[in-house]
């Protein structure tokens, strides 16, 4: 079980004597991912998804709030003590090519963490070789043909599988997949998504899926939760299918409306929401962060809404005027 409470992260861009620029990447994010569970973070570019993922994987520090791994508050621990906990949370990078060292073969890449593990648990060399082949098989690769290769000799999909295999060498409890399929050819994406889902089912690994493509978030399991993030804040949260089918936050609705409709296979939603175009600079920091772009802006929007549960709505949301709108396209066959 991994939970976060009010996680805040502000980047100070290195300035000079007279001042630094601040980027508020996360403004108090709460989340909870149960053992073997699944969650997706979606949102526009720059909303803080990667930052959150990296914090969860222990690769980035946070400024306020608390991250709890299996009941242990991480901020209370020394960096050295934190490490074994964070090792259970493995990050899968967006770019599978840069995630693999081009000068090392897959064999070498897998061996390094396995050797470490073998040393810790007192296992033999043979185990290392065995295990390397095993994790490769787990991700659907043929160890015989892959082990001796260099990353550039593999396709994008294979590379991403290797990356996942490498994460599996440490028996993680959770995989944080940051846009894990966005750089993979369309025809192969589903393969990776299916693999993640399969790993969940077979190994009980929790998956945190970070994406800007809402559709992919469905593929890690129907028990998954969806977190919609806007400018460092969670604006809507609920079971994946609920949020997709009945979004209540205007931002979620805009996001879903923007997804292209496969004319010929689907018909568009009836009430699409288009956000009011606004300049990106000079962003307003007071009140509801989405208000300047919100077509349904009301009087209360001068205040900052908190994530809340309101009556008649299944999911949590951060909007003073929540309303279900049918925005997503439906398959032709459904009607």
């Amino acid at each position: 079980m991994i939970t976060g409470e009010g996680i805040v992260k502000t980047f100070k861009q290195r300035g000079n004597v007279l001042g630094a620029r601040e980027v508020r990447a996360l403004r108090g994010v709460d989340f909870a991912i149960p053992k073997g569970g699944a969650a997706s973070f979606i949102g526009e570019s720059g909303c803080g998804k990667t930052t959150l993922g990296r914090i969860i994987a222990g690769l980035e520090t946070y400024d306020a709030g608390e991250l709890t791994v299996d009941g242990l508050a991480m901020s209370a621990l020394k960096p050295k003590q934190r490490q074994p906990h964070f090792r259970k949370i493995q990050l899968i990078h967006q770019d599978p090519y840069s995630a693999l060292n081009p000068t090392r073969t897959i064999h070498q890449t897998l061996n390094a963490p396995l050797t470490l593990r073998a040393k810790q648990t007192g296992r033999s060399k043979a185990w290392i070789e065995e295990r390397a082949a095993e994790v490769l098989s787990l991700v659907g690769l043929d160890p015989g043909s892959v082990l001796a290769r260099y990353p550039h000799q593999l396709s994008g999909g294979m590379r991403q599988r290797v990356v996942i295999a490498r994460a599996l060498t440490v028996d993680p409890e959770m995989l944080v997949a940051d846009e894990a399929v966005s750089m993979i050819d369309v025809s192969l994406r589903l393969g990776i998504l299916a693999l993640l889902k399969d790993l969940r089912e077979r190994l009980g690994v929790a998956v945190l899926f970070i994406t800007h493509d809402v559709a992919t978030s469905r593929y890690i399991g129907d028990d998954g939760e969806l977190y919609v993030i806007y400018r460092g804040q969670v604006v809507e949260r609920g079971p994946v299918d609920t949020v997709i089918a009945d979004p209540v936050h205007p931002y979620t609705q805009s996001l879903l409306s923007a997804i292209p409709v496969l004319h010929g296979l689907e018909r568009p939603g009836e009430q699409p929401v288009a956000p009011v175009e606004s300049m990106e600079d000079g962003q307003d920091e007071s009140g509801c962060l989405f208000a300047p772009r919100c077509p349904f802006r009301g009087e209360r929007c001068g205040e900052r809404p908190l994530l809340q549960v309101t009556e008649g709505i299944a999911q949590e949301h951060a909007c003073f005027y929540p309303e279900r709108r049918s925005v997503v396209a439906r398959p032709m066959s459904e009607v």
Partner: protein, 336 residues
């Protein structure tokens, strides 16, 4: 413009610290030099046939020009002097403050090196564009390899070769000196002609030595820009060749201007070998001379001046960049 002001403030603070550090380092290095300038002078006088006692007494006077007091007192004096642009008194040029000796020599370094730098910059940039455009051909290869070679070869090799050619084999150019004394200094054809005649070898050699660097830098810069998407985009929009060339040139030359500004920092110390080989009385020459003569004050001063010039050039280069590049100007940090 606040960006510039902010940068300037930071730079100045750092620059001053740097100058002080260098001054301190050079002070302590120089004071630890073994060997005694007075003894050296004494033996020189002997060689010139002066009797030993006379030589001894003649050199005794020079003690007056040596710094006095403990090392720390000397240091304090030196550093406070620094703030008044007082670098002490030279032993080999008694009676002239170091600053004026440096000033005289700087004159003869700055102009030729400036001329040489600009000349090589001009030619190098043009050839660099050629080398980039013809990079897959024989001409490009030749330009690139010759550029690397000229860039790679140390200055003194070029200077010696130039010297061998133009003073030994075909002795057409004067070797050493600044101008024929018979010409009244001033703005007259004779004097300026003589100045140019004397400066030709150093300037051309310096230009040749730095030309390689420019051609390489420009070539790689142009190649980079040519690969940039906006150039292809301009082409696809049907922009005229001349306009595209201007796009390439402006974008490619931008980083070179910074290097140019930086290399101007070498104005003062950039031509040590050339000055030595062509006996041109500039700062580099003065530095060697002061080293050989154990002239503490002069050596320290020359070294400090050379370093300070580089620091100033660094600052100017950065500010310059801030001014000419709209990306930096608007406060967006250029990714280094």
């Amino acid at each position: 413009m606040t960006v510039i002001a902010r940068r300037l403030a930071g730079h100045l603070a750092r620059g001053i610290v740097m100058v002080l550090v260098v001054a301190t380092i050079s002070f302590f290095i120089v004071r630890n030099i073994p060997g005694d300038p007075v003894a050296a002078r004494y033996q020189k006088l002997l060689e010139q046939g002066m009797s030993p006692e006379a030589a001894e007494r003649a050199t005794a006077v020079m003690y007056g020009f040596l710094p006095k007091g403990t090392l720390w007192e000397q240091y304090a004096d030196y550093m406070t002097g620094l703030f008044r642009f007082d670098l002490g008194v030279s032993v080999t040029h008694p009676g002239s403050p170091v600053t004026s000796v440096l000033g005289e020599a700087a004159k003869w370094t700055v102009l030729p090196v400036l001329a040489g730098t600009l000349l090589s910059f001009l030619v190098g940039v043009i050839m660099g564009v050629y080398a980039a455009i013809k990079r897959s051909g024989k001409l490009g290869d030749f330009l690139a390899i010759s550029g690397s070679l000229l860039h790679g070869v140390p200055q003194y090799v070029l200077a010696l070769l130039m010297g061998a050619i133009f003073t030994t084999l075909i002795p057409v150019l004067p070797q050493g000196g600044t101008a024929d004394i018979l010409f009244e200094p001033g703005f007259n054809a004779g004097y300026i002609g003589s100045l140019i005649e004397h400066a030709t070898l150093p300037v051309v050699t310096y230009a040749l030595a730095s030309y390689g660097g420019w051609i390489l830098a420009m070539k790689s810069s142009v190649v980079t820009v040519l690969g940039d998407d906006f150039i292809l985009a301009a082409e696809l929009r049907g922009m005229k060749r001349t306009i595209i060339f201007r796009y390439v040139a402006r974008n490619a030359i931008l980083p070179l201007f910074t290097i140019l500004a930086l290399s101007l920092g070498l104005l003062f110390g950039g031509a040590i070998f050339i000055e030595k080989i062509f006996n041109y009385p500039g700062l580099g020459f003065l530095l060697i001379d002061s080293v050989v003569n154990r002239d503490y004050a002069l050596m320290g001063g020359a070294f400090l001046l050379i370093t300070a010039a580089i620091i100033v050039a660094n600052i100017l280069a950065d500010l310059f960049y801030t001014v000419i590049d709209p990306r930096v100007r608007s406060g967006e940090e250029a990714s280094a």
